[in-house]
Amino acid sequence: MGSVLVTEHGPVVHSVLVGLAVVAAGLVLAVQARRAGPFDERLLVVVAGTLVGGALGMRAAGLVRYVSDVGASTLADAWRYGAKSVLGGLAGAYAGALSGKRLAGYDRPTGDLFAPAVALGMAVGRFGCFFTEPLGRPTGAPWSVRGFHPSFLYEIAFHLLAFSVLLRLRGRLGTAGALLTVYLAAYAGFRFLVEFTRANDVLGLGLTGSQWFVLAASPLLALKLHRTRLRPGAVEALT
């Protein structure tokens, strides 16, 4: 397992950086919402649903993994020591946003508002992972950190690139709200590949739990992506 860069105050460092990630995402979301037109207060209920779904989703995935690993664990132990999953958090946030929209009676697409915010938040939050979690699998590559793949730096680069691309694609997709679909599909593909450099356990057939999660979600993402239409000039905007 790869080396952890910060051990003594690791949990605090991780939490501070995740806190910064939430702030960064919130600011981007506010700017996006302001840019989209008059502020609709019901969007706050959607945000509340997203946060609740994300918080539960990241824990739920860990609870499942913990219980399946340990068997007779208590709920409290699973809460204290269970894993937290970014993929579970994203899935939960998606479901939470849908629930929030239903609760608030908000029927406008929100994917275009959320996508850049999530991308930047993930980029910032992954610095917390880089400093406090196992770096990755051993490698002799010249860019290795302490002899391990800096897998979280790969992911930070992906999210920053995605943030830039998403900003350029704003308003250029024919399907309203499709920015989030594009982002999630791209992240799913990237995550599947980057897992080969991560220090996560193999679950079966040489693939980690995250890779199995991505495989399970890919048909839905592919379907949503298939329904996404590009407006003229969308591809040119990226060059």
Binding site: V18, P38, V45, A48, L51, R80, A83
Partner: protein
């Protein structure tokens, strides 16, 4: 969906649905509630109490917040519910790293 006005922009909803002061109060209560329950869950030695605390942490604020938003009533109540859910969600997401210190000493340490 509302029709665009003369300037081409979609007008804001006619009635103000949320009160920002109450959202702030909900944020504060939600985050303090989550933080307090997380701390209690970490320090308590009683397993039964810990189990109930975890259940309380996981489902209490979201259910309460959802109920406050969904039920018809004054905007202050709905605003407080939205703030409660936001504060609770943010606190739990941010505090996820605080468990690493304990988890890293177990064979189940995985964050990702």
């Amino acid at each position: 969906m509302a029709e665009p006005g003369r300037d081409g922009r979609i007008p804001a909803p006619s009635s103000s649905q949320l009160a920002f002061g109450w959202i702030g109060a909900g944020l504060l209560v939600g985050s303090l509630l989550a933080a307090g329950l997380v701390l209690l869950g970490v320090v308590t030695a009683d397993d039964v109490v810990a189990e109930w605390l975890v259940l309380g942490i996981m489902f209490g604020p979201p259910i309460l917040g959802t109920g406050l938003i969904a039920l018809p009533g004054p905007s202050a109540r709905r605003s407080f519910g939205a703030g409660l859910m936001m504060g609770w969600g943010v606190a739990l997401i941010v505090s996820s790293g605080l468990c690493i210190g304990g988890a890293i000493r177990t064979p189940f340490f995985k964050v990702g």
